[in-house]
């Protein structure tokens, strides 16, 4: 029974991680920007939702929309006004990463100052766990999480394969010169990538707010998962990152059957190290040579 419980928890966590990782992997794979502020986007989305829903008592669709708006605005503006400037004159991996990181620090601390250092949760009618069968506690929201993740991934798949924008986006990662053929510019496309990547975190943020709660430093954990999943799944593979996110979420929960909770985060990194050691290309990625 413990195993089943952990399995279901793992599915829920994994679904959230898959969404987060997909957003990061999309951005990194297509623009080669190590968007260390991805965690910040997540935190912003979560807290805006919390503010609108739990504090201002707006309806949840409105709150969700506000969160989406805030997250996408953050991602897009960051790309337009910070990354673009850096890339114009120098744009080395290091410089962009540091700027991104700096942004993440600013956001984390601003939120800590505005809201509170401690954790907050959004309670919804769906959050309460029900004893489905003796010993097995599941909250209806778990089903919402998994359903949401599936819907978003299907939508993403459709976007990337069936629309002109999606195809152009995939071209951006492979060969930036082809983009002009579609009447777009790499810069504009980059904005779209950040838009989509940032939107992908919003459902994950909202659902995390409703399940385990929010705290200002959660962006760090989000980044760890994003990076680990992107590498384990294979750089450049969206499917890989999502799959890896799922695996990491499952592993993090299932391992609780054998080890203490403090070590669960370490499990993620042990998996990461093993991949770097033996299969740096990840599950789906291209072969990686220095």
């Amino acid at each position: 029974m413990l195993f089943t419980q952990l399995f279901i928890n793992g599915l829920q966590t994994g679904a959230l991680y898959a969404l987060i990782a997909a957003g990061f992997s999309l951005i990194f794979g297509m623009t080669r920007i190590f968007h260390a502020a991805h965690g910040a986007t997540f935190t912003i989305a979560g807290y805006i939702f919390y503010e609108c829903y739990s504090v201002l008592h707006l309806s949840w669709p409105v709150a969700a929309l506000a969160a989406t708006f805030a997250a996408s605005l953050f991602g897009v503006l960051l790309d337009r006004y910070v990354y673009a400037i850096i890339q114009r004159h120098e744009g080395s991996f290091f410089t962009v990463f540091v700027a991104s990181f700096g942004m993440a620090i600013i956001v984390q601390n601003l939120i800590a100052m505005i809201f509170d250092r401690g954790a907050v949760t959004v309670s919804t009618p769906l959050s309460k766990s029900l004893e489905v069968i003796p010993g097995l506690y599941v909250a209806p929201i778990a089903a919402v999480v998994i359903a949401c993740a599936l819907i978003f991934f299907i939508a993403l798949q459709w976007l990337l394969t069936k629309t002109n924008l999606g195809i152009a986006l995939r071209a951006l990662g492979e060969n930036p010169n082809l983009i002009e053929v579609y009447g777009l510019t790499p810069r504009l496309l980059s904005q779209y990538v950040f838009l989509i990547g940032s939107i992908l975190v919003v459902p994950a943020a909202i659902l995390t707010a409703a399940t385990s709660g929010l705290n200002p430093a959660m962006g760090n954990h989000v980044m760890l998962i994003s990076i680990a999943a992107t590498i384990v799944g294979g750089v450049g593979s969206l499917r890989g990152a999502a799959m890896a996110g799922l695996i990491l979420g499952m592993a993090e929960n299932l391992c609780l059957a054998v080890i203490d909770p403090q070590w669960s985060e370490a499990v993620t990194f042990v998996i990461l190290f093993l991949f770097i050691l033996f299969r740096p290309g990840g599950v789906y990625g291209r072969a990686v040579m220095s």
């Binding site: 080395s92 700096g102 600013i106 760890l224 990076i227 770097i276 990686v288």
Partner: protein
């Protein structure tokens, strides 16, 4: 007042050593590490353990701290350097996270969350550094030695190898540089010297626990290096001085709520990082914007 200043001075020396060593790999080799606080911690715990259970000899403890940190770093470097730079960032982040968990859980060696108390002052050739002023002298000497070693390495053939690898790894390979060996060695040197800083820290504060070696610390060190200026010898020292004086400077601004000072500090260096990367990637000392390669 004197005691207060002496205290800051010792901590400055320790932070400067950490910043210098981090710059060695970040600014000169182009290797981005988020795990520097862990090597600092390993050095501190090693010295604490040896000093409390075996010997309080300065040289022995420092040597042990340096060696253990250096060897540990190679465990990180060897696999992670085989692949691209982004992977090393991830791996170092992983090491930082796992390291903190180990520091917190390995009670028999690190004292767990409670840490280690009662670390004695070190002894060198019969003299014990109980006096704070004497310890400050010691710290300055160690800092001087680290600056000297760094300068020698950076201005010599090894430094050129590092910079060649940083500027064009493929060309460096083509002209005979064994890239992995050079990178691994540079990480080992940086980690070893960070371990020495840890040793100093443990001896000075006499009480250490995991809180000093968390991700925030690695981030602070990174900020010092970046703001001061990567790839310059004195940049990290300037960065260390600046970022250490920030908390004190902030207390002089009456309109800032004291409970939020920590966050405000972090916001300031976050902002500094963003603005510097946009307009002056070489940092305050480095200045000149780095241009795209030749």
């Amino acid at each position: 007042m004197i005691a207060y200043l002496q205290n800051i001075a010792v901590l400055f020396c320790i932070n400067a050593i950490l910043a210098l060593t981090l710059n060695f790999i970040m600014g000169y080799a182009g290797i981005f590490s988020l795990a520097h606080a862990i090597f600092f911690g390993v050095g501190a715990y090693a010295t604490a353990y040896i000093a409390m259970h075996a010997s309080d000899s300065l040289l022995l403890c420092m040597a042990a701290s340096a060696a253990i940190s250096a060897i540990l770093s190679m465990a990180l470097a060897l696999p992670a350097l085989r692949v691209r730079g982004e992977y090393f960032v991830a791996a170092s982040l992983g090491l930082q996270v796992i390291g903190v968990t180990i520091f917190s859980e390995w009670k028999s060696i690190t004292g767990g969350l409670g840490g280690m108390i009662g670390i004695p002052r070190p002894k060198l050739w019969g003299y014990t550094f109980n006096d704070d002023t004497a310890f400050l002298m010691l710290a300055l000497v160690v800092l001087g030695i680290v600056v000297g070693i760094t300068a020698l390495l950076v201005r010599g053939s090894f430094g050129r190898s590092l910079m060649a690898i940083r500027d064009s790894e493929s060309a460096a390979q083509t002209y005979g540089k064994h890239v992995n060996a050079v990178k691994t060695l540079s990480v080992a040197v940086a980690a070893g010297l960070a371990g020495v800083a840890g040793s100093l820290y443990a001896f000075y504060i006499s009480f250490i626990n995991v809180e000093s070696f968390v991700l925030e610390t690695s981030i602070l060190l990174m900020a010092m290096v970046i703001i001061g200026g990567t790839g310059t010898l004195f940049g990290p020292i300037v960065g260390a001085a600046l970022l250490m004086s920030l908390p004190a400077a902030l207390t002089y601004l009456p309109f800032l709520p004291p409970t939020e000072l920590g966050s405000i500090q972090q916001i300031i260096y976050g902002l500094a990082m963003v603005l510097l990367m946009m307009f002056r990637p070489g940092g305050l000392v480095g200045g000149r914007s780095k241009e795209k390669s030749a």
